[in-house]
C-alpha cells in the first residue's frame, strides 16, 4: 500500500497545523519549516510524476471504502504534473516571501501558504466531485488569508469583493452539485461520467444544467469572461508573493474544466453533446482580449500582472474549450507556462512596487536595478508569449490545434491580436517604469515628497529587507523553469500527449477508480 | 477536606449534572450512571474558575418544598393570567411597577427569586437596583401593588432566605 497520493494533502495540512500549534511566535522557525515543507512537497511531487509515468491511474481509496461510495484520490499524469507545478510554485513563493520579508508583515503567512498548497493539491488529486468542492473551499479560504495579509484599506476592500464573489461561486458549485446528484445519484467523477452516458432522456435536462453550471463555476475560478470580475482587483491588491501563488488558482479552474469534461461530462454522452464549447469558446476568446486590453490600459504594475494573468488564462481556455486531444495537450503545455509566467510577473510587479511604487508613470528611474529589470523583461517576454520562452511555443501549439476548427480565423485572430496588445502594454509599462525618468527627477523637494508618501502608504516602507538575493533566487528559479520548459518542450509535449491520452481515456479512469474489471 | 473541595467544587452541581446525564441518556443504566457521575465530577472541576464563590444550599428539603410551591403557583397564575388576557379588555387592566426591596444577598438567591417571579405568570422581574438590594417587578394586573410585593417577600423570599443564607 503506497500512501504517496495522499501525502501532498496531508503533509502541508499537518505542517500548517504544527506551525500553528508550536511556533506561532517564531518567524524564523516558521520559515525553516515552511521552506523544508515546500522542498519535501517538491520531492513528493517528483515521486508522483515518476509514479504516474507508468501510465496507470493510481487510485487511493480513503477510509478503504470503494469508490463511488467513499472518496478516492486518483493519480494520473495530469494530476501528478499539476501537483509538481504547485510544489515548484510554492517553493519559489515561499522563498520570495521570506526574502522580501512579506511573511513578517502579518501573522501566519506560512501556515496559510501551506494550507493553500494543501487545497490546491487536493483539488488536483481528488476523483470525487464534492470533495473537489471541499478542496476548492480550502484553497479559497487560504487565498483569502493570503490576499488580505498585511492589511491596508485598498487590500481589504478588494478582499471583501474577492471573498463575496467567490462565495457566490461556491454557492453555484453547490447548486450544480445538487442538480447532478439529483439526476445521477452519485458524486464520484468517474461514476458521474458512467451514469451520465447512460442517462435516460427525461433526466438529461437536469444533468445538462448541472454540468453547464459546474463548468461555469470552474470558469469563475479560471476568471473567464463574464465571470472574471473578481480577479483584477483582488490579485492587484494582494501582496506580491500571494498573487504569485494565486497564479495556480486560475489553473485549478482550467484543470477542473479539462478533468470534468473528460471524465464526468463526456461529450460522447447524448445529454451533453456540444454543451461546453458553445459558450466556453466565445468566453475564452473574450477573456483573452479583455486581459490584453487590461494590460495595455493598466495604470499599475500589479494590475498589469493581473490582466496579464487573465489574458494568458483566456488563451489557455481557448485550448480547453476546443477540447480535442491536440488542443488539450497544448493546454497542458501552456498551463505551467501560464502559471509560472504570471507568477514571475507578480513578483516583478512586487519588486518594482517595493522600490518605486506601483504606478506605471514617471517616477524614480529603475535604471540601476538591472536585476529587477531583467526579471520584468523576461517575465514580460513570457507573458506576451514571445520567443524564446515557452509561451510562444504554447501559443503555436494552441493555434496549431485550432486548425480545422470552424472558427479558426477567430481563434488565431484573437490569439495574435491579444498577443500584440499585450506586447504593446508590456512595452509601454516597461519603458515607463524602467526607462522613463520622472519629470524634474533629482530635485530635492521631489525626493522629500516621495519619502512622505512612503511613510504614509501601506506596505513597502515598513520592514527591512532580510534578503533581496533570495527574492531574485525565487524569481530566477521560476524563469529557469520557464526556460527548461522551452528547451525541453519535446519531452514536455510527449508527457502532455501521454497525459491527454490518459485523460481522454475515460474508460480506463473509470475502470481504475470504480475497480471495474 | 481540601482534596474533597478540589474534587467537588460544587457538589450540588455534580449531582445535577449526573441527573442531567441520566435524563439525557433516557435510560437508567449502570453505564449512564457511571458516566454521568464521572462527568459530574469532571466538568465542575473544569469550569471551577467560572464559578468562584460557592453558594451553600442549607436544606435540600426546603428546595423541594420551594419547587412545589412555585410549580403550584405557576399553574394557578397561568390560569389567572390566561383569563386576564382572554377576557379582560386592555383598558381594564391595572398594570403596575413595584420595587421589591431585598433581604437576600447572594446573587444566586436573588436570581432564583427573580426567576421565580418571572416564571409565575403575572409578574416579571425587570431590573435590579444599582446596589442589588431591590428588584424592579412589573405586574400585569395589580390593583394593589403593595400586596404583590408583600406576597413575593413572604412566599418566595422568605423560603429562599432559608435555603441560601
Amino acid at each position: 500500500m503506497s500512501h504517496l497520493p495522499v501525502l501532498p494533502i496531508v503533509l502541508p495540512a499537518a505542517l500548517a497545523a504544527f506551525i500553528l500549534m508550536t511556533m506561532r511566535h517564531h518567524l524564523e522557525l516558521q520559515r525553516i519549516f515552511s521552506i523544508a515543507g515546500s522542498v519535501a512537497l517538491t520531492a513528493i511531487a517528483a515521486l508522483l510524476v515518476a509514479r504516474a509515468s507508468d501510465g496507470q491511474v493510481h487510485v487511493y481509496e480513503l477510509g478503504d471504502w470503494p469508490a463511488p461510495f467513499g472518496i478516492a484520490l486518483a493519480l494520473d499524469r495530469l494530476s501528478a504534473m499539476m501537483v509538481a507545478l504547485t510544489a515548484l510554485l510554492l517553493l519559489a513563493v515561499t522563498l520570495y516571501a521570506v526574502g522580501a520579508g512579506w511573511d513578517a508583515r502579518g501573522r501566519h503567512f506560512h501556515a496559510l501558504l501551506q494550507f493553500q498548497a494543501m487545497g490546491v493539491c487536493g483539488a488536483f488529486l481528488t476523483a470525487d466531485a464534492f470533495n473537489l468542492f471541499v478542496f476548492f473551499e480550502i484553497l479559497l479560504i487560504a487565498s483569502y488569508g493570503l490576499m488580505i495579509h498585511a492589511g491596508g484599506a485598498e487590500r481589504l476592500r478588494a478582499g471583501f469583493q474577492y471573498v463575496a464573489y467567490n462565495l457566490l461561486g461556491s454557492t453555484l458549485f453547490l447548486f450544480a452539485m445538487g442538480a447532478l446528484y439529483a439526476a445521477t445519484g452519485t458524486l464520484n467523477m468517474a461514476d458521474l461520467g458512467v451514469r451520465i452516458a447512460q442517462l435516460p432522456a427525461e433526466h438529461a435536462a437536469l444533468a445538462r444544467a448541472g454540468a453547464a453550471l459546474l463548468i461555469l463555476v470552474f470558469a469563475v475560478k479560471a476568471a473567464a469572461l463574464p465571470v472574471h470580475f473578481w480577479l483584477p482587483g483582488a490579485y492587484a491588491a494582494a501582496p506580491g508573493p500571494s498573487a504569485a501563488m494565486f497564479a495556480i488558482l486560475t489553473k485549478v479552474g482550467v484543470y477542473a474544466i479539462l478533468r470534468m469534461r473528460a471524465t464526468a461530462f463526456p461529450e460522447s454522452a447524448p445529454a451533453l453533446a456540444g454543451l461546453s464549447e458553445a459558450w466556453l469558446l466565445p468566453a475564452a476568446l473574450a477573456t483573452a482580449l479583455i486581459g490584453a486590453a487590461g494590460v495595455l490600459g493598466a495604470r499599475g504594475m500589479a494590475r498589469l500582472a493581473a490582466f496579464g494573468t487573465i489574458a494568458s488564462v483566456g488563451t489557455l481556455l481557448i485550448a480547453a474549450a476546443l477540447f480535442t486531444p491536440q488542443s488539450a495537450a497544448a493546454a497542458l503545455y501552456y498551463m505551467p507556462h501560464s502559471t509560472l509566467a504570471a507568477a514571475v510577473m507578480f513578483l516583478a510587479a512586487d519588486m518594482v512596487t517595493e522600490r518605486r511604487g506601483d504606478a506605471i508613470a514617471p517616477g524614480p528611474r529603475m535604471a540601476h536595478h538591472a536585476l529587477v529589470a531583467a526579471v520584468f523583461f523576461l517575465g514580460a517576454v513570457a507573458l506576451a508569449g514571445l520567443p524564446p520562452l515557452s509561451g510562444f511555443l504554447g501559443k503555436l501549439m494552441i493555434m496549431d490545434a485550432a486548425r480545422g476548427h470552424e472558427r479558426v480565423a477567430w481563434i488565431w485572430g484573437v490569439i495574435l491580436v491579444a498577443s500584440l496588445i499585450t506586447l504593446m502594454g508590456l512595452a509601454r509599462a516597461g519603458s515607463d517604469v524602467f526607462w522613463r525618468p520622472a519629470e524634474g527627477e533629482g530635485r530635492a523637494e521631489n525626493r522629500e515628497q516621495d519619502e512622505d508618501d512612503a511613510a504614509a502608504g501601506p506596505g513597502p516602507a515598513a520592514p527591512a529587507q532580510p534578503s533581496a538575493a533570495l527574492t531574485f533566487v525565487a524569481a530566477f528559479a521560476l524563469l529557469a523553469a520557464l526556460a527548461a520548459l522551452t528547451v525541453l518542450a519535446g519531452p514536455a509535449m510527449r508527457y502532455a500527449d501521454a497525459a491527454v491520452a490518459q485523460l481522454f481515456d475515460a474508460g480506463a479512469y473509470a475502470d481504475a477508480v470504480l475497480r471495474r474489471p | 477536606m481540601r482534596l474533597i473541595r478540589a474534587l467537588f467544587p460544587h457538589p450540588t452541581l455534580s449531582l445535577l449534572l449526573t441527573a442531567v446525564w441520566v435524563a439525557m441518556a433516557n435510560t437508567f443504566t449502570i453505564n449512564s450512571l457511571v458516566l454521568g457521575a464521572m462527568l459530574g465530577v469532571a466538568i465542575p472541576i473544569f469550569t471551577r474558575a467560572y464559578w468562584p464563590d460557592r453558594p451553600r444550599l442549607r436544606s435540600p428539603l426546603r428546595v423541594a418544598e420551594y419547587a412545589a410551591v412555585v410549580l403550584w403557583d405557576i399553574v394557578m397564575a397561568n390560569i389567572a393570567v390566561a383569563r386576564l388576557v382572554l377576557f379582560r379588555r386592555n383598558a381594564d387592566l391595572r398594570p403596575a411597577w413595584i420595587a421589591v426591596p431585598l433581604d437576600l444577598r447572594h446573587p444566586e438567591a436573588i436570581t432564583a427569586l427573580a426567576g421565580t417571579i418571572t416564571m409565575t405568570p403575572g409578574t416579571v422581574s425587570c431590573d435590579v437596583s444599582s446596589e442589588g438590594r431591590a428588584l424592579l417587578v412589573h405586574c400585569l394586573h395589580a390593583p394593589d401593588p403593595d400586596a404583590v410585593r408583600d406576597e413575593i417577600k413572604q412566599r418566595y423570599e422568605r423560603r429562599l432566605m432559608e435555603i441560601f443564607e
Binding site: - | 435524563a23 390566561a82 420595587a99 418571572t118 416564571m119 405568570p121 422581574s125 425587570c126 424592579l136 412589573h138
Partner: protein, 139 residues
C-alpha cells in the same frame, strides 16, 4: 393503553395547546411591551410543559418506553426564560423609559439599567488588572 392514559395525554395536549395559543395571543393583544412580556411565560410554562408531559406519557403508555428527557427541556426553559425576559425588559427600560416612569428602589440610588456609566463599566478600577487580562495576549 388505558383509557385513563389516553385521556391524560389528550388533556395535557389540550392544556398545552391552549396556553401556547394564549401566550402568543397576548403578545398581540396586550398594549405595551412590558405587559406583552407577561404573555410568553405561559407558553414556556404550561404551554410547552403540557406538551412535554404528553410526550412523556405517550412514551410510557403508547410506546412502552421509559422517557424522562423531556424534563431537561423544561429545566432549560425555566433556567433561560427569566433571563431573556429580564434582558428584554432592560432593553425596553433603556430605550424607552426613564427613572420618572419607575418607582424608586428606595434602598439604592436607582435602577441598574438607567445608571449611565461615563465610559464603559461602572466598575471603577480600570487599567490595573486590565493589562494583564487583555484578550489575545497569550494566544
Amino acid at each position: 393503553m388505558s383509557q385513563a392514559a389516553e385521556i391524560l395525554i389528550a388533556a395535557s395536549l389540550a392544556v398545552g395547546g391552549v396556553f401556547g395559543l394564549v401566550g402568543s395571543y397576548g403578545l398581540i393583544k396586550l398594549p405595551n411591551l412590558v405587559m406583552r412580556l407577561h404573555a410568553p411565560t405561559k407558553a414556556t410554562t404550561l404551554g410547552v410543559g403540557g406538551v412535554l408531559i404528553a410526550s412523556m406519557l405517550h412514551s410510557w403508555f403508547a410506546l412502552g418506553r421509559f422517557s424522562v428527557h423531556e424534563l431537561l427541556i423544561t429545566m432549560f426553559l425555566f433556567l433561560t426564560a427569566p433571563v431573556t425576559a429580564h434582558f428584554i425588559a432592560k432593553a425596553h427600560i433603556h430605550r424607552r423609559l426613564s427613572a420618572r416612569d419607575l418607582p424608586a428602589p428606595q434602598v439604592d440610588r436607582g435602577w441598574a439599567t438607567l445608571e449611565r456609566p461615563e465610559d464603559g463599566s461602572p466598575d471603577g478600577d480600570p487599567g490595573e488588572k486590565a493589562e494583564g487580562a487583555q484578550p489575545g495576549g497569550g494566544n
